[in-house]
């Protein structure tokens, strides 16, 4: 093979052409800018406590810098963008998914521990013992808020004493005149009032009308106690609910209990073991895998879906191959006229975008209005429940997928049959061989070997045929008694997708564990394929 200077690592001389010299400098500048941009991202991720993503972009930036400065790696510059694209959007997500599978990452364990702590510390609660009834008085200058104490001190609790102290025994407050039209989170100071202001209080209907504005108000007493709206007729002091202790635990003031950060489960827990949500993701080892194989509510549906996935992919390959092969054998017949037209019409299902044809079938199979049931009803008087009966739904999927997939097999078989030497059939005809003899003694043995890797690729594709399931049945009808969203027509991929994105719990950890199992299966198929296809590099 002929090789270029670059790959031999020969020095590249200063170009004679100014234009080329400038281009080189421009390229160097571009690389420098890219490296700087990546380093900025690394820094940003690092400062936001995302070490994994910081590391990812550090590796990417470093690789970029090295490949584009070392002369020895000249050839690698050509492949770098594509390899980087694959690394970033295929390999990194793969590794990240495997990483998630060992954690309890889910919608309840989403934020980092610091963010969870900050969120809990920002929570407030109402001190019930010191509620104030309120009235609105409108005047020319604006609206006045008048508060009168309702709740009586019960004398218990540390916080209550604090509130009493801040109130200093005053039980009536009023604000100055103000407008209720203004924006959010306003702090308004209130003063002790001698008695009710003059004039008629506004009706409840008017109070309701300005509810949104009132909810945004924070009333501050001279001692700094903050009151917020606690109902249509009440204001009450809002206190910080949690207090950080030095040992990292949180003290719950409302319920008078201590919360301790449990780094095994990723939650703050009380002495009784109650978990406070939200939690943060922590490593849980093989828990997710253990759940798949040991928890009967997950294992049952999982095994069912697993078997169906294999059956679906296997049967699809079988049916499409059968249809495709028969058609290809017909179309390669010399005596047949109009082959080009037949061919074009036969591959039409392949030319229509899949997302459209799948939806067409969804409409046609509709149990009440669909054409298929109309025709079946007219001919045989039956109306099958295509979408609610598990076996009929599976049959429908296979019918639709055969329709979608046979043109590919037809094209493959046509290509392979055409490459068989004609003399073989001539010799067979001389010896009196019929079509069946030709099929089993000549055609099949000769095409099966080059076809096998393509069939495996097709199997792997249908094994992961997410689009068909998502658009046609969405996995329905559901498997009864499953603790995760699992359908009788779900494939492993769509099952994973539903656990991660459709379930209320969004259990990313469990979904990632199942995804990892599929990765292993797909990797096995890919390696087998590579070996059978004898890929020459």
């Amino acid at each position: 093979m002929y090789t270029t200077n670059a790959s031999r690592g020969l020095p590249r001389h200063r170009s004679r052409y100014p234009a080329e010299r400038y281009t080189r400098w421009a390229l160097r500048g571009l690389v420098a800018v890219l490296v700087l941009a990546l380093l900025w991202l690394v820094l940003a991720f690092h400062l936001h406590g995302q070490p994994i993503f910081a590391l990812l972009f550090l590796v990417l930036g470093a690789a970029l810098g090295i490949v584009f400065t070392r002369r020895r790696l000249m050839s690698h510059r050509y492949i770098f963008p594509a390899v980087a694209g694959m690394a970033l959007f295929v390999i990194f997500p793969l590794l990240y998914t495997i990483g998630i599978s060992f954690s309890n990452y889910s919608s309840s364990n989403l934020l980092s521990e610091e963010r969870v702590r900050a969120q809990l510390l920002s929570r407030t609660y109402q001190e019930e013992s010191a509620t104030f009834g309120f009235q609105l008085y409108s005047s020319d200058e604006g609206v006045r808020l008048y508060l009168e104490r309702e709740g009586a001190p019960t004398g218990a609790g540390e916080r209550e004493a604090e509130v009493e102290e801040a109130l200093e025994g005053v039980s009536r407050f009023t604000t100055g005149p103000m407008s209720l039209a203004q924006g959010e989170g306003r702090h308004v100071s209130i003063q002790p009032a001698p008695g009710e202001p003059a004039g008629e209080p506004m009706s409840l209907r008017e109070v309701i009308a300005s509810r949104a504005a009132l909810q945004n108000l924070v009333l501050v007493t001279p001692e700094g106690l903050e009151l917020r709206m606690a109902g249509l007729r009440h204001f009450a002091p809002m206190l910080d609910r949690f207090e950080a202790r030095d040992d990292g635990s949180l003290y719950d003031r409302r319920d008078d209990r201590l919360l301790i950060a449990d780094r095994e489960t990723g939650f703050f827990v009380t002495d009784e073991g109650e978990r406070i949500t939200p939690g943060w993701p922590v490593a849980v080892g093989l828990d997710n895998y253990a759940r798949i194989f040991l928890d009967p509510d997950i294992r049952g549906p999982f095994v069912q879906i697993f078997v169906w996935t294999f059956a679906f992919a296997g049967l699809t390959v079988l049916f499409t191959l059968m249809v495709g092969f028969v058609l290809a054998s017909l179309l390669q017949w010399d005596q047949l006229r109009g082959k080009a037209l037949y061919r074009t019409l036969l591959i039409l299902p392949y030319a229509v975008p899949a997302f459209i044809s799948i939806l067409i079938f969804k409409g046609m199979f509709n149990q009440h209005f669909g054409e298929i049931n109309l025709i079946l009803d007219a001919l045989f008087g039956i109306r099958p429940d295509w979408f609610t009966d598990p076996w009929l739904a599976r049959t429908m999927l296979l019918i639709v997928n055969t329709w979608l997939g046979y043109p590919y097999m037809l094209l493959l078989c046509m290509g392979l049959i055409q490459s068989i030497p004609r003399d073989l059939y001539e010799a067979s005809a001389v010896d009196g061989g019929g079509p069946l003899t030709n099929l089993f003694r000549i055609t099949l043995p000769l095409i099966i070997k080059p076809l096998t890797p393509l069939l495996i690729a097709c199997f792997a594709f249908n094994f992961n045929n997410f689009v068909l399931i998502a658009l046609l049945t969405g996995g329905n009808p559901d498997i009864l008694g499953a603790s995760t969203p699992a359908g009788t027509t779900d494939l492993l991929v769509s099952y994973t997708y539903r656990i991660a994105f459709q379930d209320a719990g969004q259990n990313f950890g469990l979904a990632a564990a199942i995804a990892t199992l599929i990765f292993v299966l797909v990797a096995g198929l890919a390696l087998l394929n590579l070996r059978l296809a004898k890929v020459r590099v």
Binding site: T4, S75, V90, F355, Y408, N529
Partner: protein, 296 residues
């Protein structure tokens, strides 16, 4: 031409034609049906294949023009189909241009240069190619969610994210182009370099003009694949006006409210150009698809 022919040839030919035609009717029925429905009145499936009550209502709505019924009521288009189509085309155009750019330069290196790690990288690409993106969606979502905090146009609900994410799927195209490059004799470039051309010049002025057909094929393939991409777009895009056609089209057939007629018009409108493009370029596309052993 076969020399030895059986006597029953005429009957067998007739039987072949008949069975092929019967099969074609069965296969093409859904496609003809949808075209017919798009011209029918109402959103229910009834009536014959040739519409009795011919109406352009669905087509008008699919093109985004409000339709005035005979009784005077005006129907507004339910979904912005043309906008979705435009989004799809925009994303597909940019991403397939980028894919052609990246895979051509890589394929050149793989076909013409010798360097460390060439074999393993090529094989690794083939293996990783088989992992479906659906399974890594959680990770991809997390990646773009975080990236979006710092780089706005790469966040969730942007077309930038969708375009960039499609760059992961270049392996198939690299293999296709590499195969073509290897079929071109290297002596032309060698001659150019003896005359003083640089590596880049040999690539740019000799090899690229010769391989224009395969680049067209890869571009069309990448374009069709991008138009049909569903899982990634369904997770990354949120707002209705940002959706691509593949994600948006299914909203017509929601479980409780089937807009069968409207869907038919939108499906024909958006599917027909893609189908025609596919059929026109079928020779090249099929070559590329069967060579890679991966269905689009």
């Amino acid at each position: 031409m076969a020399m030895v022919q059986p006597r029953t040839l005429r009957w067998r030919k007739l039987a072949a034609h008949l069975s092929l035609c019967g099969f074609l009717v069965l296969i093409l029925f859904p496609l003809l049906l949808v075209i017919s429905i798009s011209f029918r009145e109402g959103n229910f499936a009834s009536g014959s294949l040739i519409p009795e009550n011919f109406s352009l209502e669905h087509w008008s709505l699919a093109l985004g023009i409000p339709w005035e019924r005979a009784d005077g009521s005006v129907v507004q288009p339910p979904f912005p189909v043309l906008l979705w189509l435009w989004n799809s085309i925009k994303v597909a155009l940019v991403s397939s241009l980028l894919i052609v750019l990246l895979s051509t330069t890589s394929a050149y290196a793989f076909a013409r240069m010798r360097f460390a790690g060439k074999g393993p990288i090529l094989k690794g690409m083939l293996i990783f190619q088989m992992f479906p993106a659906v399974l890594s969606l959680v990770a991809l979502y997390a990646l773009f969610d975080r990236l979006g905090q710092f780089v706005g146009w790469l966040g969730i609900n942007t077309h930038g994210a969708l375009i960039v994410a499609s760059l992961g799927a270049v392996a198939l195209h690299i293999w296709t182009i590499k195969g073509y490059f290897e079929s071109i004799d290297g002596s032309l470039e060698e001659a150019a370099m003896v005359d003083g051309a640089s590596t880049w010049q040999a690539f740019r002025y000799i090899l690229l003009p010769l391989s224009r057909p395969i680049l067209m094929v890869v571009f069309i393939l990448a374009f069709v694949m991008s138009i049909m991409e569903y899982p990634m777009a369904s997770v990354l895009l949120v707002d209705e006006h940002k959706l691509t056609l593949a994600v948006g089209a299914q909203q017509y057939l929601a479980d409780h409210n089937q807009r069968w007629g409207n869907f038919a018009a939108a499906a024909v409108l958006s599917g027909l150009p893609i189908t025609v493009a596919f059929l026109v370029c079928q020779r090249w596309i099929i070559g590329g698809l069967t060579a890679g052993g991966v269905k689009g």
